[in-house]
C-alpha cells in the first residue's frame, strides 16, 4: 500500500479529511432522505452557464424524480464508504463526479448569478475545493490504516516511514 510511504501524521490528516468529507456527504444525504418534499428542481432550474439547458432538462418530470433519488443514493453511499473506509477509491471518484456536476450547474464564473452562497467566489468555490480533496483521497486511500479494511489486514499496523 502507498500508505507504507507516508508518515503517521500524514496518514492521520488524510483520515481526518476522509472522515470530514464523508460526514458532510452522509449528512446531506440523510437530511434529504428524510425530507419527502425535498427536490433538486429549483437548484437545477436556476443553473447558469453553458450546461444550463442540460440541467433544465434534468429538472423536468418524470426525470427529476430519478435525479433526486440518484443524488440521495450517491450522497449516502459516498458518505458511508468514506467514513467506514471501504471502497474509498470508488467512493472518492463518484463523489468527485457529483461535485463536478454541482459545480458545472452553478459555475463560479464572473457574470453568472451565484444563488444563495455564504461567501465570495471567483472561478473557485467550495464545491471545486471539496472535489479536489476527493481526488486526493482517490490517490491516497487510508482504509487499511483506519477503516474496515484494517480488519482484513494481516499486519498489526501498516508500516510508516
Amino acid at each position: 500500500m502507498n500508505d507504507n510511504y507516508l508518515t503517521k501524521a500524514q496518514l492521520n490528516v488524510l483520515v481526518l479529511m476522509r472522515m470530514l468529507i464523508g460526514w458532510h456527504f452522509l449528512y446531506e444525504g440523510v437530511v434529504k432522505l428524510y425530507n419527502p418534499t425535498w427536490t433538486a428542481k429549483g437548484y437545477l432550474l436556476s443553473s447558469e452557464g453553458i450546461l444550463k439547458s442540460l440541467f433544465a432538462k434534468l429538472a423536468t418530470e418524470p426525470l427529476v424524480g430519478f435525479v433526486d433519488g440518484l443524488n440521495i443514493a450517491i450522497l449516502l453511499l459516498v458518505g458511508l464508504f468514506l467514513i467506514l473506509g471501504i471502497m474509498q477509491k470508488r467512493a472518492a471518484i463518484l463523489g468527485a463526479i457529483l461535485l463536478l456536476l454541482y459545480y458545472l450547474s452553478h459555475p463560479a464564473f464572473p457574470g453568472l448569478a451565484q444563488g444563495p452562497a455564504e461567501g465570495s467566489y471567483w472561478i473557485v468555490n467550495k464545491n471545486l475545493i471539496e472535489m479536489s480533496a476527493l481526488l486526493v483521497l482517490y490517490y491516497f486511500p487510508t482504509g487499511h490504516y483506519f477503516g474496515v479494511y484494517r480488519l482484513f489486514n494481516k499486519k498489526e499496523s501498516p508500516q510508516t516511514v
Binding site: 440523510v30 432522505l33 428524510y34 425530507n35 432550474l45 436556476s46 480488519l151 482484513f152
Partner: protein, 542 residues
C-alpha cells in the same frame, strides 16, 4: 495468503477498523432528527393556521349555440380582450410567430392557439378609427366567423343581432354604451373604471339592476387563485386586526405613462372626432387626445380611475370593505410634464373608520383601517401589496406570503417557543408551484428559489391568462346563470371610490361618503361631476 493471515481482530484493529460505525450512527441520527423536526414544525404551523388553499371552481360549460359578441372599441385593450375570446389579428399572429422564431421560449403564440374555445362568434365591431376597424374586418372574417363594422354603438346594438357586447372604449364612453346595451337587452362586459362620473354611476347601477343582461366589470384580478386563499386567511383571522393596507403602482416607461403610439393614418378623415368627444368638451381634432386619452380628465380618470381601481378591487374582493368613509389625496405631475392634466404621482388615503378584519386583543381596542394607494409613473421599484395586521403581514400577488408579527398577541407563545420565526414566512402559497403550492418557507435557500418563481408549473401544461378566465366567467353566467364575481355592486363601489379619489385630488380636500344616504357628502357650491370632468389638473373652489 493463509486463512489465519486474512483477518486480524486485535483490539487495536477492531477500534481503528470500526471507529467509523458510531460516526455513521451519529450523523444519521442527527440528519434524520433535523429533517423530522423541520417536517413536524412545518406540519404544526400548517395545522395551526389551517388555511384553505384551493383553486377557484372552474366556471360552467361553454356548450350550446355560439354566443354572438360585438366589440366596441378595438384599441390596445380591445385587441387583448378579443384574443382572450379566441380572436387574434393577423398582424399579432405574424408578430408572435416571428417572436417565437427569434426566441423559442416565447410561447405567446402557442398559448393562444392552445387556449380553450369559448364557443363565441365575434360578429360585430364598432370603432371610430378606420384603420382599427379594417384590421378587425380582415382578420376576423373567415369561414367560421363573419364580422360587420358599425359606425356607432347605437347602430351596432340595433342592427347586429349580437347577444353581448365587450366595451373597451375610452373611460368617458364606458357607462353611456353600457347603459344603452343593457337597455337593448344585451349582456355587457365593460372595462374598468366602470364609469367616468358620479351621475352615470348611479344611472348604470339602476339600469343594470333592472335589466336582464349580465354585467361584468373588467377586474380580471378576481380570477387570481391566490385571492381565494387570501380570503380564507382573513376569514380565519390569521393576520389579526388589519390597520393598514399598502397598495402601489410603479411604472417607469412611456407605455406605462400612457404615451401610446400615434398611428400614421390618423386624420379627421379616418377618425370620427365628434364621436370620440362624446360628452367631453369639444376641442379641435387632436391626435394626441385620441391615442393618449388617458392623460386627460375629459376622457380618462388618471391614476385613481385607471390603476387604483385594480388595487381597490383586489382588496375589496378579499375584505369586502366597500366604499371608504373618507378619502384624501396628494401628488402632482412630476415626471411627465407633457401637457397632460392627470397626475403621474398620486397617493390616496382611504379611511375605513369602523372596519375590522378581526381582533386578537381585548374587545374595543382595535377598530379602523387605512387603505393607501401610492403610485408613481416615474419609478418601477417593485413594492409589494401588503396587508398589515397586529398578528401578521400578508404580501399578496400571484402568491401569498405571510409573516408573523414579532409583537403579535396571537402567536406570542409560538414565537417565544421558537416554533414561529417572524423573520421567515410562516406560510407561503404559490398556486403554480408543485406540492399543492403550500409551503412553510424554512430556509433562505427555499425562499430564494420560491421568489424566483422557478418552482412554477402551468395548469394542464398551459399558461392561463386571468382576462381569459374573467371573460369565461362572464360567458358562463350568460349561458348557465349565476352572478359574475365583479358585477354591478362591486363596480359601483370601485367607481365611487375612484371618483372620491379624483375629487380629493382635484379639489385638494377630504371627500366624505355618507353610508346611510349612499352618497358623497355634498360640499356647498361644488358640483362634483363638473369638477371630475373639468379638463384641468386641479379645480379651485372658494
Amino acid at each position: 495468503m493463509s486463512e489465519e493471515n486474512k483477518f486480524n481482530f486485535s483490539r487495536r484493529n477492531l477500534l481503528k477498523g470500526l471507529a467509523g460505525l458510531p460516526i455513521v450512527g451519529a450523523v444519521w441520527w442527527a440528519g434524520a432528527r433535523a429533517s423530522g423536526k423541520a417536517r413536524k414544525e412545518k406540519q404544526f404551523i400548517l395545522e395551526e393556521l389551517n388555511i384553505k388553499a384551493v383553486p377557484p371552481p372552474p366556471s360552467g360549460s361553454m356548450a350550446g349555440d355560439p354566443i354572438k359578441i360585438g366589440i366596441i372599441g378595438f384599441g390596445i385593450r380591445g385587441e387583448q380582450l378579443c384574443r382572450a375570446l379566441g380572436f387574434a389579428t393577423n398582424e399579432w399572429l405574424d408578430e408572435m410567430k416571428k417572436a417565437n422564431e427569434a426566441n423559442p421560449k416565447d410561447q405567446r403564440l402557442n398559448d393562444f392557439l392552445n387556449q380553450e374555445n369559448l364557443n363565441v362568434k365575434l360578429t360585430a365591431i364598432c370603432d371610430i378609427f378606420d384603420h382599427r376597424a379594417e384590421v378587425a374586418l380582415h382578420s376576423f372574417n373567415s369561414n367560421e366567423n363573419t364580422i360587420t363594422r358599425y359606425r356607432t354603438h347605437e347602430e351596432l346594438l340595433e342592427k347586429s343581432g349580437v347577444d353581448a357586447v365587450v366595451i373597451a372604449a375610452p373611460d368617458h364612453w364606458h357607462a353611456p354604451i353600457a347603459m344603452d346595451a343593457l337597455q337593448a337587452g344585451k349582456h355587457v362586459y365593460v372595462e374598468k373604471p366602470m364609469t367616468h362620473n358620479i351621475a352615470e354611476t348611479y344611472g348604470l347601477k339602476e339600469i343594470a339592476e333592472a335589466a336582464p343582461g349580465i354585467l361584468a366589470v373588467g377586474h380580471q384580478h378576481r380570477q387570481t387563485q391566490s385571492f381565494l386563499t387570501a380570503q380564507d386567511v382573513i376569514k380565519k383571522n390569521i393576520l389579526g386586526h388589519v390597520s393598514l393596507i399598502l397598495t402601489n403602482t410603479n411604472r417607469n416607461d412611456d407605455n406605462g405613462a400612457w404615451q401610446y403610439h400615434i398611428h400614421e393614418t390618423a386624420s379627421p378623415q379616418t377618425i370620427n372626432w365628434e364621436r370620440f368627444i362624446g360628452n367631453a368638451p369639444m376641442v379641435p381634432f387632436n391626435k394626441e387626445h385620441f391615442f393618449r386619452w388617458r392623460k386627460w380628465w375629459a376622457y380618462g380618470s388618471g391614476l385613481s380611475g385607471d390603476l387604483m381601481t385594480h388595487e381597490f378591487d383586489r382588496i375589496n374582493c378579499i375584505l369586502e370593505m366597500g366604499i371608504p368613509n373618507s378619502v384624501t389625496a396628494s401628488g402632482g405631475i412630476y415626471t411627465h410634464r407633457d401637457g397632460r392634466n392627470v397626475p403621474d404621482v398620486l397617493q390616496l388615503n382611504m379611511e375605513y373608520d369602523d372596519f375590522t378584519t378581526g381582533i386578537s386583543q381585548e374587545p374595543g381596542k382595535e377598530k379602523g383601517m387605512t387603505f393607501v394607494y401610492s403610485a408613481t409613473l416615474g419609478n418601477q421599484y417593485n413594492r409589494p401589496l401588503v396587508l398589515m395586521g397586529h398578528d401578521g403581514s400578508m404580501e399578496l400577488g400571484n402568491s401569498v406570503t405571510i409573516y408573523a408579527d414579532p409583537r403579535s398577541t396571537k402567536y406570542a407563545d409560538l414565537i417565544e417557543a421558537g416554533k414561529i420565526d417572524p423573520k421567515v414566512p410562516m406560510y407561503q402559497y404559490d398556486p403554480q408551484a408543485s406540492e399543492g403550492g403550500v409551503d412553510v418557507v424554512t430556509s433562505a435557500t427555499a425562499k430564494y428559489f420560491a421568489d424566483k418563481g422557478l418552482l412554477w408549473t402551468y395548469r394542464d401544461g398551459k399558461r392561463v391568462d386571468s382576462t381569459f378566465l374573467h371573460l369565461r366567467e362572464w360567458l358562463s353566467c350568460v349561458r348557465n346563470g349565476g352572478k359574475p364575481s365583479c358585477g354591478i355592486q362591486e363596480g359601483f363601489e370601485e367607481a365611487i371610490s375612484a371618483h372620491m379619489g379624483g375629487l380629493a385630488y382635484k379639489l385638494g380636500r377630504r371627500i366624505h361618503w355618507d353610508k346611510d344616504k349612499q352618497e358623497i357628502v355634498p360640499i356647498e357650491g361644488v358640483n362634483f361631476d363638473e369638477v371630475l370632468l373639468a379638463n384641468q389638473e386641479k379645480v379651485d373652489v372658494v
